[in-house]
Amino acid sequence: TQSTWDFDMLRSALSRASSQQARRVGASRDASTLVYIDHDGKNVLPATRSAITAAAQLGGDITALVAGSGATDVVAAAGKLPGVTRVLFANGDAFNGQLPEAIAPVIEQAQKQFKFSHIFAPASAAGKNVLPRVAAKLDVAMFSEIVGIQSEDTFVRNVYAGNAIQTVKSKDPVKVATVRGTAFQKCAIEGGSGKAENIAGGASTSSEFVKQELVKSERPALEAASIVVCGGRALKSKENFDILFKLADTMKGAVGATRAAVDAGYATNDMQIGQTGKIIAPTLYVGFGVSGAIQHLAGMKDSKVIVVVNKDPDAPFFQVADYGIVGDLFKVVPEMQAALEKK
């Protein structure tokens, strides 16, 4: 029927728009891209693989840069990423905590030596912290969180919480950009044969990394999960979030939260989805007791399927929902739990 055809057309259009595969843009033999590798000491973090896909769209060489103390596993993994022909490794304790004061000079030096046409980083906390400092040192503009590449000097990004999309062009000699993880498919983990090279750097800086307090979880990372269950302030307590964790576990998904829920202490800050929190685009997003503020939408509106459960039939969130249930989340969640467990 016509309506089924429309639904499929829309879904595939949204799929194309929101997640780009590796494809050549204006394949340029002159392009040579440095990709900053975000890592945890052992692994290349997932959003970095989206940055690699973005770099691949430019054509040309891809050089990975790893800064870390003894991060040889990361260097090995980076060398295997498709398209990577070289891995620059800056080894030293100065890079603990990925301090930008230590890393920016390394990238600046690499740029002097190799004269890259493009410098990319994932738009992760580390990438967003480090890359602008690099741009200042190189006196060039930086594109924040690109979601599309039109040509080697023209990129697409969101403004006003994703309520407008701008296409911007740079004439600077090197194009510096952070790459939104949800906008580019994560590259494969094998295929590249980048040779590792040590690069100098790591002079100690005046900043000191003291420690990190990361939330330990067995669940999939929010940014990478294909199913995300999200709770708003209507959950009313930290303990009540347990029903969402249980539901997510049954669905093999991750749990996110709105800013209001995090501010109220019901969820930890790493769970916040929104304009200034995590940007996600899972296959399925289910919001419980979330009203749908602009700032929250900015973080999840590229989800393929959106389900909204809210007691208030006038909640703005229903306007972007593919499926909506007007109901009490404390009744709906157990019902969903039971339905999923039965099947």
């Binding site: 200042a136 006003y160 389900v307």
Partner: protein
Amino acid sequence: MRILVPVKRVVDYAVKIRINPQRNGIETKNVKMSMNPFCEIATEEAVKLRESGVVKEIIAVSIGPKETVQTLHTALAMGADRAIHVETDVPTDLQLQPLAVSKILQKIVEREKPDMVIMGKQSIDSDSNQTGQLLAGLLDWPQATFASKVAVQADAKAVQVTREVDGGAQIIEVPVPCLISADLRLNTPRFATLPNIMKAKKKPTQTIKLADLGVDVAPRLKVLQVEDPPTRKAGSKVDSVEQLYDKLKNEAKVL
């Protein structure tokens, strides 16, 4: 300690924005403007630090048209001591870009010699999240971005900052002078009381014309076009969890 707090006048966070007829920017005429929420948090942190005794002077600075003094007035009413208005009619949302702003602020830092710059991590119009990091790079100062807690050491020579990062929190210690960018949960900004709003009128505000600073502010990124995001097709309400499960499994095929 002297703190410089850059603040930005932006379209109010609750306004539904519209793209201009030329399709190269956002309509801001007759639209409600407010201080960027992250800038309010930065101002509040400076005032709290002053209330704890470490800070002697708070200077607020903002760049924009003459209406920008209203934003500076808010900062003064919250507790800043004096304000600097860098006057320009270049649209500050998408045309006066982060690199230019950081160079302007660098000039102000050179003039005012603060011990700390505390600013919002991003403005909700351009959503760049760059200016703090750029300024720190230009000044070669340590940067403590996405701050959720700021603790100035007793000797006021260093600051311990808790930062919100992807997996939780990171704690770093940076010497003064330093740059801090404020994240959402650093504090809850106060409402200015009426007496403070009245007092703010008497606090000094200096106006500098942007051209007099001798900074190259031409936009490096040319905005080719601004367009609406793709609209989603309207969905449907379902009556039961059973029906939802069926749709998710058989229609949307996501389960």
